[in-house]
């Protein structure tokens, strides 16, 4: 037996934790993949454009105007990003508050997706604001009459809560038991806070449009928009977790070896929940249209048909698909429905903030190529950050009692 205890075999901390046990040269070589090349190309264009936006201003980089002050960075990065990041509080509440422990294995990836989604939404918001440094004003001004004030405070608080929730696997990765064990114990309290803040600001994002009844098309406008935004955020959270789990299982397959949880079973359960919530959402939206006396707009003109596409193709269809798949135990169909539902949420937020907004204006807003590239770059940063973290930290699985080196 070849044995010795004198030769230290472990590499440096950086090599172990950051370079996945490889040398810098090996690590850089491993980065040379088609996905990374495309991502690098997007970032090479997108990141300098963010710098250029701050140098040259919003007028030089965007197609925004006095009549259309909110564009892609608000409609997509902020509105959609926040909705799609709702998986954090949805799954958190499912596991920690409602006690459905079966969903525990997908809680951490959902929290990480939520955290990254919020950080990216905030970066997108900073790019969109004329003077983002004035944001600190929310801490000193008492603007309680403003919906934006509520959104700003809630997003701020919730991002902090997500950071604390994410700190559990982060400290576990570093092996700092003194920090992560107390955090793990207060996870329930953090989840309660996350549900509270999410309920407030997800709905407040909808409230932002309540004050613009003349600007938003009657089919999308409703005095209950705050509730529609919250409910659709729950749908987004469930659907996003389904899609994200499916991708994670393919991309990070090796991390699931030896971990005994049935992803198909969890997917079917989420599909069941998604079916019921979307079914209710569909009827409530119809109720909103009737309440707004806008039923005659359905099917009429571009907006009437477009609304039907959104409601039938991206709400009712995935709802029925979820239901059928859950009943017949077809996890793959649930995943396809998840993709359609996520697309539907993106469509809904983009419709409300851009397509159906200012619908009476003769000149329509179309985002500039620079706005699109910046949004694309932010999404790319999010995906790369998710992959970087998942490859190193115990996100897709937990370490047992500070076990060795979770890369």
């Amino acid at each position: 037996m070849d044995s010795a205890t004198t030769v230290p075999a472990q590499g440096s901390w950086v090599q172990e934790k950051i370079f996945l046990g490889m040398t810098l040269k090996e690590y850089l070589k491993s980065l040379w993949t088609p996905f990374n090349i495309v991502a690098a190309a997007i970032l090479a264009v997108g990141l300098p454009l963010i710098v250029y936006r701050f140098y040259a201003g919003l007028g030089a980089t965007t197609n925004l105007s006095q009549t259309q002050p909110w564009g892609l960075w608000i409609g997509f990065d902020m509105m959609t990003g926040i909705a799609l990041a709702a998986g954090g509080f949805t799954i958190g509440a499912t596991v920690e508050i409602f006690g459905l422990e079966d969903y525990h294995p997908i809680e951490r990836p959902a929290i990480l997706t939520g955290f990254l989604g919020y950080v990216i939404a905030i970066v997108g918001l900073c790019a969109d604001l004329g003077k983002p440094w004035n944001m600190v004003g929310i801490f000193s001004n008492n603007g309680t009459q403003s919906v934006l004030f509520e959104v700003a405070w809630c997003v701020c608080c919730y991002t902090s809560v997500l950071a604390l929730e994410f700190a559990v696997p982060f400290f576990e990765w570093l092996g700092w038991q003194r920090f992560y064990r107390p955090l793990k114990k207060i996870l329930l309290a953090l989840t309660v806070l996350s549900v509270m803040f999410s309920t407030m600001h997800q709905s407040a994002l909808g409230s932002l449009f309540i004050i613009a009844p003349g600007k938003l098309h009657p089919l999308w406008y409703s005095e209950s928009m705050f509730f529609f935004f919250f409910l659709s955020a729950v749908i987004a959270g469930i659907s996003m977790v389904i899609v994200e789990s499916a991708i994670s299982h393919k991309v990070f397959a090796s991390q699931f070896e030896g971990h005994h949880f049935d992803a198909d079973e969890l997917t079917l359960g989420l599909g069941k929940a998604g079916a019921v919530v979307m079914f209710a959402y569909f009827f409530l939206k119809l109720q909103g249209v009737i309440d707004n006396h806008a039923i005659e707009y359905i099917g009429r003109g571009f907006y009437g048909k477009w609304w039907l596409v959104e409601m039938l193709g991206f709400v009712l269809l995935p709802s029925v698909m979820y239901a059928w798949a859950a009943r017949n135990r077809r996890a793959r169909v649930v995943r396809v429905a998840g993709v359609i539902a996520v697309t539907g949420i993106i469509l809904n937020r983009v419709n409300i903030s851009m397509v159906a907004y200012n619908w009476t204006q003769p000149v329509r807003y179309v985002p500039s190529w620079m706005e699109i590239m910046v949004s694309l770059a932010l999404v790319t940063v999010g995906i790369l950050a998710f992959r970087w973290i998942v490859n190193r930290m115990p996100v897709l699985h937990e370490l047992d009692q500070g076990s060795p080196a979770g890369h």
Partner: protein, 236 residues
């Protein structure tokens, strides 16, 4: 007519109520449809959360993400593709307080089932087998120097890490899940039967925690031989 006028004036309300009632009726049908359907084909595949399984391990700890070798060593696949190896809970309880571990150095190639580690305790030493084929890339200096790792046999008590030659092949020879749990319970029964032949299995059921160093209870003079039998390293 008054009734007609009444309805005409509140047509939107009529639609709202109509929709609400339709929704409730349809929702019942939809709910029943979603909840029904084919029963789960394989109940044993039902998702079981990681921490729940770890907690329900019974007499001895057994996290769900480790696979056991019949020589009482465990293997856990890490995110970077390497495998951490350690001595299982029952193994620790069997030998009792360990003075030191003689661990393989980096670069040493190990074969599954072959001796890889030697532990020293109470003036004797016992060999432990490697649960996987592969090349050693690191060892746990903290365990080698001071602690016996028995407090956290599957955590900080890990012994060394290997880059597996073929993880899937090695893994196929190991026990995990319910099979591992059943096996370790059987091993525990076998051990207890040797400590107290008359009490036998009953000792397992009464909830008594086995002493730390059970092999020494069985044969204080030749406990290393007893442990070697359990570790499959007799004569090593």
């Amino acid at each position: 007519m008054f009734g007609h006028d009444f309805l005409a004036g509140y047509s939107a309300k009529l639609l709202e109520y109509g929709l609400a009632v339709s929704y409730l009726v349809l929702f019942v049908a939809f709910w029943r449809y979603v909840q029904g359907g084919t029963a789960k084909a394989q109940p044993e595949l039902r998702a079981t959360p990681h921490r729940e399984r770890a907690a329900s391990s019974g007499w001895f700890e057994l996290p769900s993400d480790v696979a056991l070798h019949p020589g009482h060593t465990w293997a856990r696949l890490l995110a970077d593709g390497s495998v951490a190896v350690g001595l299982d809970d029952l193994g620790h309880r069997m030998v009792g307080p360990v003075e030191s571990f003689e661990l393989p150095a980096a670069g040493v190639t190990l074969a599954q089932g072959e001796p890889a580690v030697r532990l020293h305790a109470a003036g004797k030493s016992v060999a432990l087998v490697s649960p996987v084929d592969g090349q050693v890339i690191a060892y746990n200096a903290a365990v080698a120097d001071s602690s016996d790792g028995s407090n956290e046999p599957y955590g900080q008590g890990w012994l060394f890490k290997v880059q597996p030659a073929n993880w899937k092949l090695s893994r196929a020879q190991l026990l995990d899940g319910p099979a591992a749990k059943d096996w370790i319970e059987e091993e525990a029964k076998r051990l207890v039967a040797r400590i107290a032949p008359r009490a036998g299995v009953e000792l397992l059921q009464d909830g008594g925690v086995p002493v730390h160093g059970m092999a020494r209870e069985i044969d204080p003079e030749n406990w290393d031989r007893v442990a070697s039998q359990f570790f499959h390293t007799e004569g090593a």
